[in-house]
């Protein structure tokens, strides 16, 4: 990792942290949405523990989706993004920096909060640990994939809704393997395969997403 990338990441984080409380919203969303399910479905501990992996995973997916906007939209509208590109910073570096910062500000807190939700859903310790681990491996993937969609919809008026339509189908593999790792752990069978695939998806997304994102960013900024 070179100095430029590190300073870019620092910039992203400080920009987002200075925008008051905006960065807390996705986290609050995650907690509130998950706590709606016992109210809507059932407070029965056995059923909740069964539903928990899926609920936690879908909620995590959506809160990452919500968090993307904060890293791109303001930067795009104020022209900061354009200035960076004009200054000769490559688009893929910007995408990497934004994705890493996005993960540090949103993904990591999600990983830390998830076990708390697991307790509310009566998940056992083993499953809870795996939930944390799977989220740890997969939330960066979601940030990277999401950055492609975000770059594609930068200049658009209804970008937010469109982003959902573009990105959620691409999230499906991550969702399947993440949720099933937790499910496997909760019924006590081997879950290492799912985690390995999550890792593979992470590597793949780190390699490919910055290029796709940079190409999309160039189109949007033109």
């Amino acid at each position: 990792m070179n100095g430029l990338l590190i300073s870019l990441i620092k910039r992203e984080i400080s920009v987002v942290l200075r925008s008051q409380s905006e960065f807390v919203y996705p986290l609050a969303f995650f907690v509130i949405v998950t706590s709606l399910f016992p109210l809507a479905v059932t407070p029965d501990p056995v059923q909740l523990a069964f539903l928990a992996p899926g609920i936690i995973w879908v909620a995590a997916l959506l809160s990452i989706l919500l968090s993307l906007n904060g890293f791109y939209q303001a930067d795009f509208e104020e022209g900061g993004l354009e200035q960076l590109l004009l200054a000769g910073v490559s688009g893929s570096n910007i995408v990497i920096a934004k994705s890493v910062a996005n993960w540090l500000v949103t993904g990591l807190p999600l990983v830390i909060v998830a076990p708390l939700i697991g307790v509310l859903f009566h998940m056992d310790i083993q499953a809870n640990g795996v939930a944390m681990l799977s989220l740890f491996l997969a939330t960066p993937t979601l940030c990277f994939i999401g950055s492609i969609g975000m770059c594609l919809t930068l200049g658009l008026r209804n970008g937010g809704v469109l982003l959902t339509l573009l990105i959620l189908p691409l999230f499906i593999p991550v969702l399947i393997f993440g949720a099933s790792a937790v499910q496997a752990a909760s019924i006590g069978i081997d879950y290492s395969g799912q985690l390995a695939i999550l890792g593979a998806l992470l590597i793949l997304s780190i390699i490919l997403a910055p290029y796709a994102g940079a190409a999309a960013m160039k189109i949007s900024i033109n």
């Binding site: 492609i148 469109l162 189908p169 593999p173």
Partner: protein, 250 residues
């Protein structure tokens, strides 16, 4: 040969090329459909387990096949347009989307109609049906993104990138859904095994697949023609064309 190829990249030439070929393609499609439907509905045996419902396959399988083929074509022509900035390639790519989406929808609907008497339910979270559903979402995303931009050039390039990202993702999605399905699927469904398909059935199916392919090319060219006219409406040759046709009507 190369000049012919280059000419194809010009909308005007492509339009004339499509005009020349469309009557033949329409005729071939019609004949193939009549032959395929006759073979499928009249001259192929009933399945010993499923009875006549098996005939839905003659629509379902070609539609499913073309739904995936169309996506690949859409992504590849989008990539060609993106890399070499060829207007025609973008036009083909964009024209593929609604056609492919309809094929996907057709495959899903016929799958449901087939599933009701065979499986006892319209929808089953079967691996192939789920993949097909996600494919439909990808098509919808492509069309939505292309529509969202005001400027066509930007829309073309953005949509091409999305199609390529989707193309990379399709195998991953397919694999993950298949894996997920094998995990969750109990012994509720006995998928119909076809150790060796009856030759008459195979003949009908292959004819229908070819018919669908001809239909696809015909509809695609038609759509491309409309797209060309829409994009080139300010150019001289389109004006001339419209004036000529207007005179013909009078």
């Amino acid at each position: 040969m190369w000049t012919w190829f280059y000419q194809l990249a010009s909308p005007k030439w492509f339009y004339q090329f499509a005009n020349k070929w469309l009557p033949w393609l329409r005729a071939a499609t019609l004949i193939l459909f009549l032959a395929g439907l006759a073979l499928g509905l009249l001259f192929s045996p009933v399945d010993y387990q499923q009875g006549n419902t098996v005939r839905i396959m003659y629509i379902h399988v070609p539609a499913a096949f073309l739904s995936m083929f169309t996506y690949v074509l859409m992504a590849i022509s989008g990539a060609i347009g993106y890399i070499w900035r060829i207007k025609m390639a973008h036009i083909v790519s964009v024209s593929c989307a609604p056609v492919g989406a309809i094929f996907t929808l057709l495959a899903l609907v016929t799958g449901g109609i087939w599933g009701k008497p065979t499986w006892g339910t319209y929808w089953e979270w079967d691996a192939r049906m789920t993949s097909e559903l996600i494919l439909l979402f990808l098509y919808l995303g492509f069309m939505a993104l292309h529509n969202a931009f005001d400027e066509r050039k930007t829309a073309d390039r953005a949509a091409a990138i999305l199609a390529l990202v989707g193309l990379v993702n399709i195998p991953i999605i397919h694999f993950s859904v298949e894996w997920w399905n094998s995990l969750h699927q109990g012994a509720t469904i006995s998928k119909f095994e076809k150790p060796s398909m009856d030759t008459d059935m195979l003949k009908a199916l292959l004819t229908m697949i070819v018919a669908f392919q001809f239909y696809f090319v015909t509809v695609l060219l038609q759509k491309v023609k409309a797209e060309i006219l829409d994009r080139e409406k300010l150019s001289g040759w389109v004006k001339k064309l419209v004036v000529k046709q207007g005179e013909g009507v009078q």
